[in-house]
Every structure is written in structure tokens, then in C-alpha cells.
Amino acid sequence: MLSDGDLQALWLTVRLAGIVTLILLLLGTPIAWWLARSKAWWKGPVGAVVALPLVLPPSVLGFYLLLAMGPNGPVGQLTQALGIGPLPFTFWGLVIASVFYSLPFMVQPLQTAFESIGERPLEVAATLRASPLDAFFTVAVPLARPGFLTACVLTFAHTVGEFGVVLMIGGNLPGVTRVASVQIYDHVEALEYMQAHRLAAVMLIFSFLVLLALYAGRTRSSQGGMA
């Protein structure tokens, strides 16, 4: 059915999306929490920057990241000074680029979820001796669970679907940066339509199942709110 190259590309895609989702969960949660609760004037600009990848063509984002991570860019010089070497055309370069690319898909559902909880449950927790950090983990996170589910699924799926940023940053190295979307592109370029069909069908079914799980989960947890 699928060739070794296809399987390799699929595995790489899953690994990339999994790592990016995990990193964004750790990175996006505090950003979303801050955006949901801050009253600072620069909340607006920060929110806009976070949302930029939503409207920016992936090639534009990829281009700037390529410049930054390249041998003459600030990030590139830092990684070289640390002995890591330049990041473009490596797996970890791809991870970093994808983190930027998928950032809004993690932050925005979380921010909405945190905002809908409101101040009250945290005040209640404080009157029951819970420190702010304690209240965050024992009240805010459980109440925002549907938001976390949505954010993780969207981030994972969106990373799986990226193409433009991958080409700019990762190129097309088998087992390193050749993810499923690039593999399909390669098949089509080589007029291997049958191969492209199989891999495309896998992606289609995967995407549908992900969204199905998301929407089914959403209707189940839609009755909630503070009692």
C-alpha cells in the first residue's frame, strides 16, 4: 500500500505535530492566561502578534524565520555560538518554525476558555485558601478542559497540514523534514498519482476523524458553567 517513504513521512509528520503541540501547550497556556486576565494596554498588540500567523501567507512567515535562523540572522548566530549549528533544514528548525506558525491555534481557544471562566471561581478558590497557582491548576485548568482539548487538536491538525513554512525552512530531506504534505507534493510532481492518492486519502481520513472527535467532544461538554 504505502511505500516506506510514505510511512517515513507520516511518522515524521506525527512526531513533528506531537512535539509542537506539547511545546505550545507549555508556551501557549501562560500567554493565553495572561491575555485573558491582563488589563495592560499592550495586551492588544501582543494579541495581534499572536494572531499574525492566521493571516500571514506561510511563505512570508517562513521567509522571515529563514532569515532569522540563517547563518547571518540573530537566532542563527546564537545557535552557532552555542555549537548547535544553523537550524534551517533540520528537524528542530522545523519544530521552531511550526511553533510560531501554530501559535494562535493554541492560544486563542485557551484564551476564550479562560475568559469564559471569569473571575468568580478563582475568588472562591482564594477564599478557600488556594494560592493563585493552586487555583490555576485545580480550578481554572479543569474548567477550561474543553478549551484545552480544542486547542491541542487544532494545533496538532494545523501542524500536520502545514506546507509553505516547511518548504521555506525545512526543504525536502527524507526522514528529516519531508513531512506528509511535502511527500504528496513530490508524488504529484513525479506524476505518481496513485501514490499521491493513497497518502492524500490517509490525510483526509485523519483530518475528518480529528474534527469528528473535536465536535463530538464539544457537544458532550457544552453543558457546564458555574453552578
Binding site: 468568580r120 471561581p121 475568588e123 472562591v124 478558590a125 482564594a126 477564599t127 478557600l128 485558601r129 488556594a130 494560592s131 493563585p132 493552586d134 487555583a135 485545580t138 480550578v139 479543569p142 474548567l143 478542559r145 453543558q223 457546564g224 458553567g225 458555574m226 453552578a227
Partner: protein, 356 residues
């Protein structure tokens, strides 16, 4: 030094809280006022949920705020009951109760059973808050606040969000708390009925300021306050059931300075009750009425007079023994009777409400 000393100044657009208060270390203090009077904001300042920049708060001599010192809410030994019970929807009733209990020092922890029993929520423990009625939720909310063994209980209009029937369901629990708790309670309300039933001490707020503070009976009987209780102006007396007349289904209660007959409500002789007499149910007479349907007639002396809200009405305070009654008369009636301070009169009480 015991009790609560509070001083807060808080300015928001369109609202300023400016409060300096001393409150007793025992009993229920009602913070009474209309919406927007600042009573909830004052409660939130005491809880540390609101930070008044130039505030000072001492509880039992301990500084919670002031001198550059700020104790955050979660380190204050308080219990807080919110207007909407605000139970955690992701936890069962039992886990709601345990939430605070787990976070207090082990040495202070006590069995939840007495609290559960006291509020009658034993049959709800496994349920999720969403399945409870408003009254049940509020009882769980109170139990949860008590479970942390607070040294100060703060209640923000716990009955306001409930309909009349649910209020009647909860009031007995509150009255029990009032009798059994040995910690001070601050109780925010805009209901004169709750004040009369539950409070020992009354703080009246208006426009972000405290306009009166004192023991309940004294403060309620003050005529100089713009409390605007409307139809609820009246007196509250502490009394004891002394005689029960099974034939007429009546009970006699004695208060400091006299006694009153009221409908028998099944209370045993010796029971302490709180009696509420509304000003509109009190009339005055110069001569002892001989044939009247009003059976409660007391001898008293006019002690103060003040205009009522309506220009045609006057409030007259009458001293009976050491207790005070308030009567609402038309100004014409007062003029006809030549009511004046110091004058001795007969006080007719048409209706007496036993509060518990």
C-alpha cells in the same frame, strides 16, 4: 484587642467607598443598604478580594492590611459565602466541601459531619452542583465556607438570588448558625426582614459611607437615619415565651418592660424569641382603650419624633419600660392627640411577628 477595625478608601469612576468602622468580635453584624451603597465592596475589601490602596484592617488585633502589610485572600482565616453559591461545577458536592478543608493546616481540620448535618445536605454529597436547586446550592456554599474553620464568616446576600420559597427554606439554617456559631459574621443584605431576624449589630450604608453603626435594637429605633426602610420601619425586641394558652392558641412573650400576646407558634415556654413590631402596626391613644379588638395595650412615654418619608406621616418613638416601640401616625392624628416628647400614652400593638 478584639473585634474588627476597618478603614478603607476606594475611588472608582462614579463610586467612592469611604469607611471607618469598628465591629464587635461576636454575633452577626448586618451590613445593610441599597444596591450601590458599597456594602458588598466593603465585604470584598475585608476578604482581600478588593484592594483599597489606603486601607487598614485589623481583625482581633492582627493586621490584615496596613503599614505596608497585605495578607492575600488565601491566607486570611475567613469563610466567604457568595450571592450565587458559586460551587465548583467540576467537583461533586463532597469535593466542593473538601476543597477548602484540604488546604487548612491538619491540626485545624475537623470532621465535616457536623457542618453537613447542620445544613441538611447529607443526601446531596455525591451529586454534581448542576443538579441541585438554588436553595440546596446555597446551603452547600455555606457548608463549604464553614468547612475551613473560619475565624470570620463573610456572607454576601446569600438569599438575594433565591425566590421567596427558597428563602424560607434557608432562613432556619441561618438562624441556627446565628445561635450556634461562636465566630463573628458579617452579613450583607438589603432585606429589612433578614436584618430583623439575624442581626445583632447593624451597620447602615449609603453612597459608599457608613451612616450608622450600633446594636440592632438601638440602631433600628433611631429616627434620625435616612434608612428608608419604608413599610419595614419598626422595632425588634428580645423576648421570652412565658405562657402558652392552648384554649385560644395564644402565647405570651415577655420583654424588658412589658409583655405581648401573640399567636401560638408551637414554641415551648422559656424559649427565647425575637419579636418584630412594625411601626404601621402600632397606634397611640391618650386614654386607655376599654373596648378594642387590639389586645396588646402598653403604657409608654414618647421619647422622640421625626418626619417620615411621606410628608403626611410622622414616626413616634415610645419608651415602654426599657424597650422602644416605633409608631407611624398621620401628622393630623399626632396634632389631634397633641403628641409631644415626654408625654405618657397608651401604645396599641395590632400585630406582633415572632421571628424565631
Amino acid at each position: 484587642m478584639t473585634g474588627i477595625q476597618a478603614r478603607f478608601r476606594l475611588a472608582w469612576p462614579g463610586f467612592t467607598l469611604e469607611v471607618e468602622l469598628e465591629l464587635p468580635a461576636r454575633g452577626v453584624t448586618a451590613l445593610f443598604g441599597h444596591s450601590g451603597s458599597g456594602k458588598t465592596t466593603l465585604l470584598r475589601c475585608i476578604a482581600g478580594l478588593e484592594q483599597a490602596p489606603q486601607g487598614r484592617l485589623l481583625v482581633d488585633g492582627e493586621v490584615w492590611q496596613g503599614d505596608g502589610h497585605w495578607v492575600p485572600t488565601h491566607q486570611r482565616p475567613i469563610g466567604y459565602v457568595f450571592q450565587e453559591a458559586s460551587l465548583f461545577p467540576h467537583l461533586s458536592v463532597m469535593d466542593n466541601l473538601r476543597y477548602g478543608l484540604r488546604r487548612i493546616p491538619v491540626a485545624q481540620r475537623q470532621s465535616l459531619d457536623p457542618v453537613i448535618e447542620r445544613l441538611g445536605i447529607g443526601h446531596l454529597l455525591e451529586r454534581k452542583p448542576n443538579g441541585l436547586s438554588g436553595g440546596e446550592r446555597q446551603r452547600v456554599g455555606m457548608a463549604r465556607a464553614l468547612a475551613v474553620r473560619p475565624r470570620l464568616l463573610l456572607m454576601d446576600e446569600p438569599l438575594a438570588a433565591l425566590d421567596l420559597q427558597r428563602k424560607q427554606e434557608i432562613l432556619p439554617y441561618l438562624e441556627r448558625l446565628h445561635d450556634e456559631l461562636d465566630i463573628p459574621v458579617l452579613y450583607v443584605t438589603h432585606s429589612p426582614d433578614e436584618v430583623a431576624r439575624l442581626a445583632d449589630h447593624l451597620v447602615v450604608m449609603d453612597g459608599g459611607k457608613v451612616i450608622a453603626s450600633g446594636p440592632l435594637a438601638d440602631t433600628l429605633a433611631r429616627l434620625d437615619l435616612p434608612i428608608r426602610l419604608g413599610e419595614d420601619v419598626g422595632a425588634v425586641l428580645e423576648a421570652t415565651v412565658v405562657v402558652v394558652d392552648p384554649h385560644w392558641h395564644l402565647a405570651r412573650v415577655d420583654f424588658a418592660g412589658g409583655s405581648l400576646w401573640t399567636r401560638d407558634q408551637g414554641l415551648a415556654v422559656g424559649h427565647r424569641v425575637r419579636v418584630r413590631i412594625l411601626a404601621r402596626d402600632v397606634s397611640l391613644a391618650r386614654e386607655q382603650p376599654s373596648a378594642s379588638s387590639i389586645q396588646n395595650v402598653l403604657r409608654g412615654q414618647v421619647d422622640a419624633m421625626a418626619d417620615d418619608e411621606h410628608p403626611g406621616l410622622v414616626l413616634v418613638r415610645v419608651q415602654v419600660g426599657t424597650s422602644r416601640f416605633v409608631a407611624r401616625l398621620t401628622k393630623r392624628a399626632a396634632a389631634t392627640l397633641e403628641v409631644a416628647v415626654g408625654q405618657a400614652l397608651w401604645v396599641q400593638v395590632k400585630s406582633v411577628a415572632l421571628l424565631k
